[in-house]
Assembly symmetry: C2
């Protein structure tokens, strides 16, 4: 999960998500709309008798604020909350497992703030089921073949890997950039991602307010997407002054066509 504003657990329940499957939470910065939902979510995990560790990746201050609340409201949690400190000013690897790597993206905001880049690791090739049957490939050979090995039959014939497998899909890359003023420094980091989420709090007509508060306009978000050659752009974090977001979407699309509006309770496939 990236960020956790007030009501996050309510939204998750509305969407029928299994909140117990959540293992890692990445917090971009310590403004309320990005972290006030943590204490409620963690308390609910306690009541659901979660036992798996919960990892929170955030600036060190968050632990100072959250720990006393956990001590008071959730003394007897049946699981551990493990804090991992991140430095929002550095672009570095902060998490890695079998399938994914997560990097920080330094952003430009009123308080220290970073985005996150999620990169899938290359995946194994797909083995062609019919070939398993045809060449009677034993199960124990399959992992190696998926990783690129040829198959040698009992008769000593070499079946080239290319004939047995189809290539895996290209690993996907997703970048999340909120909250931030327009900053070209992020472009080399997010270059060519499959999907960029970039905040678009204001329209150009509110440029002054946008500069003051270190947010972006829809046009600026789209400029970043265009200059970084990303494939798709999702915008969001709209100011409450906009009753609907048609104007925001239009402004962004004029610069970068593959833009969609980020909306509540909506799933986007990358």
């Amino acid at each position: 999960m990236i960020d956790c504003g007030e009501g996050t657990q309510i939204r998750m329940r509305q969407m029928g998500m299994k909140i117990t499957r959540l293992g890692h939470i990445f917090i971009s910065h310590l403004h309320g709309d990005h972290c006030f939902g943590l204490i409620g979510l963690i308390s609910s995990f306690g009541m659901l008798n979660r036992t798996a560790d919960l990892h929170i990746h955030a600036q060190a201050d968050l632990e100072k604020i959250l720990k006393p609340q956990l001590m008071y409201f959730s003394q007897d949690l049946p699981f551990d909350v493990i804090f991992h400190y991140i430095n929002p000013r550095k672009h570095e690897l902060i998490f890695e497992d079998r399938t994914i790597q997560v990097f920080t993206i330094p952003l430009k905001h009123r308080v220290p703030c970073c985005g996150f880049l999620f990169e899938e690791k290359p995946r194994d090739n797909h083995i062609i089921r019919e070939m398993i049957d045809f060449y009677k490939i034993p199960t124990w050979r399959i992992p190696k073949i998926k990783q690129g090995e040829d198959f040698i039959t009992e008769e000593g014939d070499v079946i080239p890997n290319k004939q047995l497998t189809t290539p895996a899909g290209k690993p996907k890359r997703f970048a999340y950039c909120s909250d931030t003023a327009y900053s070209e420094k992020i472009i080399p980091i997010i270059e060519g991602v499959d999907c960029l989420y970039h905040e678009a709090t204001f329209m150009e007509e509110e440029m002054n307010r946008s500069n003051q508060t270190e947010h972006s306009t829809a046009r600026q978000a789209a400029e970043i997407a265009r200059k970084a050659n990303v494939k798709n752009l999702i915008i969001g974090h709209y100011s409450a002054r906009y009753i609907n977001q048609n104007g925001i979407l239009e402004e962004a699309k004029a610069v970068f066509e593959n833009t969609v509006l980020g909306e509540d309770l909506t799933v986007y496939e990358i």
Copy 2:
């Protein structure tokens, strides 16, 4: 406002309530579902440039938990948050203004917890508009007549108050009792209220769980309503195990007919 769980400000916005009109918040006890919404609500007040003081009536521990959060997230609030400590073990007057008095109601829960009794003060009689015209009563006399004085005409005739006014409605009384196990000690305090809100977390079939967690069943809530001769009962705080509340309502109504289900986003007139 009584209690302030996570998402309260979101619900208020959904209902089109003017959140800036809120002056006093009464917190029954320090469990998350009764106070996690405070920090978000107060932060939003700050962003809306509220200037009026905000009064929070709660156990002293709440200030200890909330103050560090306010210091971090809302240093420059343009208004004061004023804490008033309450002793949940005592039945006493904790707030009073021109129109209302608020008393604590000691409850029986796993942690110190109290309900609140809201009593309207007697209101002035209504003056009959036609009588003002008929006797040419000057405007400056009207407040005294509303309070019960007779009117003496220029000719010296005494017009008895009864002829000039109709009695004000009876002051209303509302009692809020959550969270609590069955406790007959509250009956003398809430005797005859126009409306009682009483928690009904479980049905009788879950009596064991109800006793363990010091909550009430629907039947118990209704027993309290019946024994205290209240006019109407609203139940609420249902366990998430009940997909719908038909059974809960039925169980309560069997004991106390004037029962309604407390439901989200609903207004009840007392």
